[in-house]
């Protein structure tokens, strides 16, 4: 009984002393607006649409990102250029719904949609959280500098026939293989 009381008392006093010593420790707080924290390059923040090295839009309006999105915040409409390329007529992300999960980035076959380390996107008006294509599109390649979808894909467009893409074999004339 006496031992229990003494042990309990000592443990309380020790707790108080150890917590008191924290007064002289370095504080963990980052004073955010004055002192910007280091954001990791792979941080999942604001979503952008990137361009390929030639300066064309990477997005081919395949709708995979809109399907992958768990909160259905992406909306887009496919359009087709005269040279056979696909592009989004509009591309809309509702950031008031977006949960920055990054599924769209994983789903994208052309590396067009990418998440950036920027997180300061608060707005006073809710409607301002809906970003259109002009707002999303950047003049750069984002995280993947050399990738150009139309150069590696088998899709036929003007100025690039089938079999002319990088690492692509020429198309086989199936009739010539007949026995």
């Amino acid at each position: 009984m006496i031992k229990l009381i003494v042990d309990t008392l000592l443990s309380q006093v020790r707790t108080l002393w150890l917590v008191f010593l924290k007064l002289f420790k370095k504080k963990d707080t980052v004073e955010y607006p004055d002192q910007q924290p280091y954001m990791f390059p792979r941080w999942r923040g604001r979503i952008i649409l990137s361009r390929d090295p030639d300066g064309e839009e990477r997005c081919v309006a395949c709708n995979l990102c809109a399907v992958a999105c768990p909160v259905d915040c992406i909306a887009l409409q496919k359009g087709e250029m005269e040279d056979g390329r696909w592009y989004p007529e509009f591309f809309r992300i509702n950031f008031s719904r977006c949960i920055m999960c990054g599924f769209c980035e994983e789903a994208c076959p052309t590396n067009a949609i990418q998440l950036t380390p920027d997180f300061e996107m608060a707005e006073y008006i809710r409607q301002d959280m809906v970003w259109e294509k002009e707002d999303l599109l950047i003049n750069g390649t984002g995280k993947y500098h050399d990738y150009n979808f139309y150069r590696v894909a088998g899709k036929q467009i003007e100025g690039k026939d089938k079999g002319e893409a990088l690492n692509e074999a020429a198309p086989v004339d199936v009739r010539s293989l007949l026995p």
């Binding site: 108080l16 917590v19 008191f20 924290k22 007064l23 370095k26 707080t29």
Partner: protein, 318 residues
């Protein structure tokens, strides 16, 4: 107008300083808690966050002062007033310095105990009149806790009273000139400290208002300045308990000559305020039944034994 016991200057000074200290404690507590949790605490408003209390007060004054339609309006309105009155009245008998004080009463210690016991009505009426289950649970806990801990608080004080032979707080201070009562009455001091925390329901004994269990306990339905009065009264209670410990166990205004008596009193009292905040930062809240059985089965016998031994020693010294 001179500074003497009971003069208007003295009374006004005490009232003003106590209320301003209690208001500033809101900032000081948040800041110290921050330091003890390796945070910075509020440091944005004013110089190192010193004007935080002004911001808090503006917020609390401009909030809607809402009385729930289902509440018992009479009790609901007077409940915050009771605790404010009671804690401020308790300062009437505290001797701050040889020439600063409100009254020089022969029943000072008992007066404090009476006011502490009347303080229980505030939390009980507040909870009962809110007509809210969390508030009712909180005030039930508060009633049982405050009535129980009053007992140990009273008994733990009796050792000091017996050594002095008087309930007069000024005589208690003056009789500590040869040595503070912390040495002969160490057990009484520890019991008084614990009971004082429980009586002003500060953490770690804030069971009546335990946020994690019962919202905010008895002041769940309160808002605006009515809540503000509960809030400030808690801090005034903290100042009161610290002043009481200073007076009863640490020699009040007594100290070496190079500082004036009132400064000695303030330093000692502030040390205890900081200690209470440290307790809040460090010690977790016990369960309700643990608190009650700890009080009745451990503190009550201990305080009675302390009183008995003190009595035996006093009688054998004569």
């Amino acid at each position: 107008m001179s500074l003497e016991i009971g003069s208007f200057l003295s009374i006004g000074l005490i009232l003003g300083v106590v209320i301003i200290t209690a208001a500033l404690l809101i900032t000081v507590e948040r800041r110290l808690l921050g330091f003890w949790q390796e945070r910075l605490g509020p440091n944005r408003v004013g110089w190192f966050g010193s004007l935080q209390v002004v911001a808090d007060m503006i917020k609390i004054f401009t909030k809607e002062d809402w009385v729930p339609p289902f509440a018992d309006k009479f009790s609901f309105v007077i409940a915050p007033g009771i605790i404010m009155t009671v804690v401020l009245l308790s300062f009437a008998v505290i001797p701050f310095a040889p020439n600063i004080g409100v009254i020089d009463s022969n029943i000072g210690v008992l007066f404090i105990l009476a006011m502490a016991s009347l303080g229980a009505y505030s939390v009980m009426l507040g909870g009962l009149s809110s007509d809210n289950k969390y508030a009712l649970l909180g005030s039930l806990r508060a009633a049982a806790q405050m009535v129980s801990y009053e007992v140990f608080m009273g008994i733990s004080l009796l050792g000091v009273v017996a050594l002095t032979g008087s309930f007069n707080m000024r005589e208690i201070v003056e009789s500590q000139a040869d040595g503070w009562y912390i040495i002969p009455q160490f057990i009484g001091f520890v019991i008084f400290l614990i009971a004082g925390v429980a009586e002003s329901h500060r953490l770690p004994f804030d069971i009546p208002e335990a946020e994690q269990e019962i919202c905010a306990g008895y002041h769940t339905e309160y808002s605006g300045m009515k809540f503000g009065m509960f809030f400030v009264a808690e801090y005034i209670g903290l100042v009161l308990i610290s002043s009481l410990i200073t007076v009863l166990f640490f020699g009040g205004w007594l100290g070496p000559e190079f500082l004036p008596p009132i400064l000695w009193f303030s330093i000692k009292a502030f040390a205890f305020i900081a200690f209470f905040i440290l307790m809040r930062a460090a010690v977790p809240r016990p369960r309700y039944d643990q608190l009650m059985s700890y009080g009745w089965l451990f503190l009550l016998p201990l305080s009675l034994v302390n009183l008995l031994i003190t009595g035996v020693i006093i009688l054998s010294m004569q």
